[in-house]
Symmetry: C2
Subunit: 358 residues, 2 copies
DNA sequence: CTGAAAGCGCTTACAG
DNA sequence: CTGAAAGCGCTTACAG
């Protein structure tokens, strides 16, 4: 570990020292509040004056002190975002959408990661995150025990994919997704559909499971015992090995794509043909297209979910008092079924067959 | 879209209104700075007094106003984080590590997403992000034109995976990774190794390419024309189809796992056996284990990279003046080769063969 | 169109 | 161990 330590001053001031409006004012020969007007883009400034101020700002590298502004106005331009397992499937996509939407609306996003999706973990994260933010977006609620969630008082909050909480919610229509998956597999000729669900404590998993169950019931099919994974590919693999050992399994609905990847591997290893012997459908449509065979999956509109969350939150923020304007039906965004080769032998990418049409 | 709009007041105050130290002080019968002492955990407070204050804080739900504190102390507890394509492979893992490390050190992370990895895009993001943060972590620099990067003056900055910039750097040892990949494939018997690189403008891709080239050169092997993807699975698929059409291709090093997924699909579709006909190695080791066949890949220690970035940044922040203490050799974190079935026919998961040992 | 005054909530010396 | 005073940098009325 050889470390060449050199000094390379970047100016006369220490790190934290930055030009103030007062200094800009002095340089431009105006008062501080004229600087403020220019900084905030107000139009009651003589063009010539504005020029002088802008020039002085540029020369001093001025940027308004966010803390002072927040203190004075009482408004924060920070939105708290609580998430966990960013690397998991859809979470990163939603965060991406939240960030760009927030920025477009003039807000910064303060990201706090929770240890897991339990109520305790999220509560802890919310305590840390609530200071100095205009509102809170909570992602990754993974618990059925939503009543253990302690929401900060006096702060707008939206929670993705929750239910039964008195806060606005935006999320995927899990039930609709599961319905599409099961009906697609039944339409493909399977007598029934096996399920690899998420953790039993997961709200989302529960919703997908309930819907799966209802659709099978409505169709008068046998309802197999669902298996539970933890959303990881490995857990899907383990579940897949169980299902691969059962010759009666004709179709599997897997509650997310990562687990579906594991299921596919287990089926390959057992020599089961996909989809001829077993048809598989995943959920999320992340990386599904380049699994082998390409995985039929439910595409979530993560961008719409992220945008919807920010919109619902800012609606609250804009409300002068503390009425929960958004206490309403959850806003559900329907996923769409993207059919690929893992569930139908006839679906073959056209590009892949060029030059050797059968 | 039926929306039930109900009012549900959560207290007498509007959203933004929170208890102040003054109010806590009045309730506890002390002065505001005693409240401040308690809030900051100073020990020069009589235990009995502390109790009264803590009680009052709890009753009013007091939390110090972050903006006021930041303004007064001149210190920010925010770290700016600039990233793009959070959903891409390793980025989310690094961000996760950065968040938890930052929080453990008492900092919040303000996340800004850039449109892409170009110098212009990152410059724009930095302008927005530099206000009110103690320092900046820049992720996702994807341009070879690092000299177009305009770093904010008077602000500590660390950039992941950069080179030739006068700021501290922590990143993956790309050259070492590529070396391991190529040598592994050559050791497997391939006459040479084809490359599916990232974009030509990517610094990381360039480093992997250079190393690939050098290792082949040193081994006296033919150097095939590298193909360039854009890191996406689809671009890997397109490159894979070209390579699959060439019967001379025996081994492929793909610069990330997503593209490798596309390459595998193209090889499957062309009927090439993996690894008997073509051996494949990816990079990042994200989701590699559950591709089919399981993909040999270079595992990056994303957590170490994230922690290293925060550590390097806070080292700067702690420096009283603006010397760049960390202007040193980049801190490189070596990836490790995880060998799986995509590169060696002998590697078969033990668990998968239970009960039918050949 | 521009400026003097006041204050957001906190913490840092300084007294006692 | 506790409190009165001052000020961080900005913006919001209010004058002119």
């Amino acid at each position: 570990m050889s470390e060449v330590s050199t000094s390379a001053p970047r100016g006369d001031l220490g790190w934290g020292r930055r030009a103030t409006a007062k200094e800009v004012a002095a340089l431009a020969g105006v008062s501080p509040q004229t600087v403020s007007r220019v900084a905030n883009g107000l139009d009651n400034v003589l063009p010539e004056t504005r020029e002088r101020v802008l020039d002085a700002m540029a020369r001093l590298g001025y940027a308004p002190n966010a803390a002072a502004r927040a203190l004075r106005t009482g408004r924060s331009t920070n939105l708290g975002l609580i998430a966990f397992q960013l690397s998991r499937t859809g979470e990163a996509h939603i965060i991406d959408a939240i960030c760009s939407t927030a920025r477009a609306r003039g807000y910064d996003v303060v990201l706090t990661t929770a240890a897991d999706g339990s109520a305790e973990s999220l509560n802890r994260a919310m305590v840390g995150a609530r200071a100095g933010v205009a509102g809170l977006v909570v992602l990754g609620l993974e618990t059925v025990a939503v009543n253990h969630l302690r929401l900060p008082a006096n702060l707008p909050v939206v929670i993705a994919d929750s239910r039964g909480l008195s806060v606005p919610t935006v999320g995927c229509d899990q039930a609709e997704g599961a319905r599409l998956a099961v009906e697609h597999l039944l339409a493909g000729g399977a007598r029934t559909v096996h399920l690899v669900a998420g953790p039993e404590t997961s709200l989302q998993s529960r919703q997908r499971l309930d819907s799966w169950c209802q659709v099978l019931l409505a169709a008068g099919r046998e309802i197999p015992t669902p298996l539970h994974g933890d959303w990881s590919a490995e857990s899907g693999y383990l579940a897949g090995r169980q299902l691969a050992a059962d010759a009666g399994v004709e179709a599997i609905f897997v509650a997310n794509d990562e687990m579906a990847g594991g299921v596919l591997r287990a089926l390959h290893e057992a020599g089961r043909r996909i989809p001829e012997d077993v048809a598989v459908v995943g959920f999320d449509d992340v990386d599904a297209e380049y699994l082998w065979p390409p995985l039929t999956s439910l595409r979530q509109d993560f961008r719409a979910i992220g945008e919807g969350l920010v919109a619902a939150l800012l609606e609250q923020v804009a409300t002068p008092d503390d009425r929960v304007v958004g206490l309403r039906e959850p806003r559900l965004i329907a996923p769409t079924l993207v059919v690929r080769a893992s569930s139908t032998p006839t679906v073959v990418p056209v590009t892949a067959r060029e030059g050797r049409k059968s």
